[in-house]
């Protein structure tokens, strides 16, 4: 029998009294997120305080013209300068370099990366942490396509997406099937970007990745598997484009195919 699904283990998961002594850093790359940033930080702070975790949020802003940095400074005053760190950059330099920049200022031993536009909800972070601690995993990723977690986690709710029509779902499943067949990554959601990494693991992987955009997220996962790091998955709900419509153009499809082919050849 799976020892992690035994009654003793199920009762113990998430109910121990000893506090978690790790510190969790969240890296939030932002560009024109003036309206979303306060709310996402409020949600993160609420989740971390409820679960009594040491936390910090590193806001990497790419010179947003709409005043994101001013809001970040107000939030730092409200929550503490040690909790909200604003580390701006001179221009719009891309996601991968934003993570590398943010990593220089991390004082935690785990790093959480997520989107700042409400598609990823911070309420799943305690589940990521529980799964990571129960199985000593290097990486925990959120998946939109599964109903249960791998390996087993008590209390995981099924994943799902809000705001996708049938065509988008077909495209998404097709893309995933293609990537799974070609790359055999071992995770069900390869393009997802809601992940918890151990700090040295993230540092190691990020120095090896060369792509840009969301292929970057795929490459990090594929490289992590190739290097032998242990990965777990937790189902998450994904609310796409709470303001506005989700569009998927032909350029993105071509870029995706090229990205998968590149990964096939290089990893």
């Amino acid at each position: 029998m799976n020892p992690f699904a035994s009654p003793v283990s199920l009762n113990m998961q998430g109910q121990y009294n000893t506090p978690n002594t790790h510190k969790y850093s969240v890296i939030l790359p932002t560009y024109n997120e003036r309206k979303n940033l306060p709310i996402i930080i409020w949600l993160l702070a609420k989740v971390f305080e409820e679960h009594q975790l040491a936390w910090e949020i590193i806001v990497v802003d790419d010179a947003s013209p709409d005043g994101t940095q001013e809001v970040a400074i107000e939030l730092a005053r409200a929550y503490g300068e040690d909790k909200i760190l604003l580390k701006p950059r001179a221009g719009k330099l891309g996601l991968g370099t934003a993570y590398i920049h943010g990593l220089d200022f991390c004082t935690g031993d785990f790093v959480i990366i997520m989107d700042a536009d409400f598609s990823h909800h911070p309420k799943f972070i305690p589940q990521f942490i529980r799964l990571q601690q129960a199985h000593n995993l290097d990486i925990v990723t959120g998946t939109r396509y599964r109903s249960t977690s791998t390996p087993y986690l008590a209390g995981a709710r099924p994943g799902g997406v809000h705001g996708w029509d049938l065509k988008r779902k077909i495209v998404s499943r097709g893309a995933n099937f293609l990537a799974a067949t070609v790359l055999n990554p071992g995770v069900s959601d390869l393009t997802g970007s809601f992940r918890l990494y151990r700090l040295p693991v993230l540092r190691h992987i990020i120095t090896l990745t060369q792509s840009r955009g969301y292929v970057f997220q795929m490459e990090m996962m594929v490289r992590a598997r190739a290097l032998g790091y242990t990965v777990g998955e937790v189902p998450i709900t994904f609310v796409d484009r709470i303001f506005g419509e989700s569009k998927l153009g032909a350029d993105e499809v071509v870029g995706y195919l090229k990205g998968v082919w590149q990964l096939f050849k290089s990893v």
Binding site: I39, K169, T237
Partner: protein, 95 residues
């Protein structure tokens, strides 16, 4: 060694074995030669059709079991309102 190279090596080994058997260079021990000659030319097409039908099933099943989560959307909207009120009291500009 990248995945591409592994796949290329395995597939070239399998294809060369297949071609050797197809052109009667290697014999298959336990099957009648005439039956083997009937089946062998069709094997690539059989693999293609099997893979195609598996992919189609996988796609259909994936789309059928794709979960919608309207309750997550409603919950999120409520939390956004709550957050805005709380942040206003803490002197942070929201909207």
């Amino acid at each position: 060694m990248a995945r591409f190279h592994r796949v290329a090596i395995y597939s070239s080994i399998l294809i060369s074995i297949y071609l050797l058997v197809l052109f009667d260079v290697l014999p298959i021990p336990l099957i009648d030669a005439s039956i083997a000659q009937e089946i062998l030319p069709v094997i690539p097409w059989w693999l293609l059709v099997s893979f195609g039908s598996y992919s189609l099933w996988s796609l259909g099943w994936g789309v059928f079991t794709f979960r919608d989560c309207p309750e997550a959307y409603q919950e999120l909207l409520q939390e956004i309102n709550e957050a805005k009120n709380d942040l206003r009291s803490r002197a942070v500009t929201v909207d």
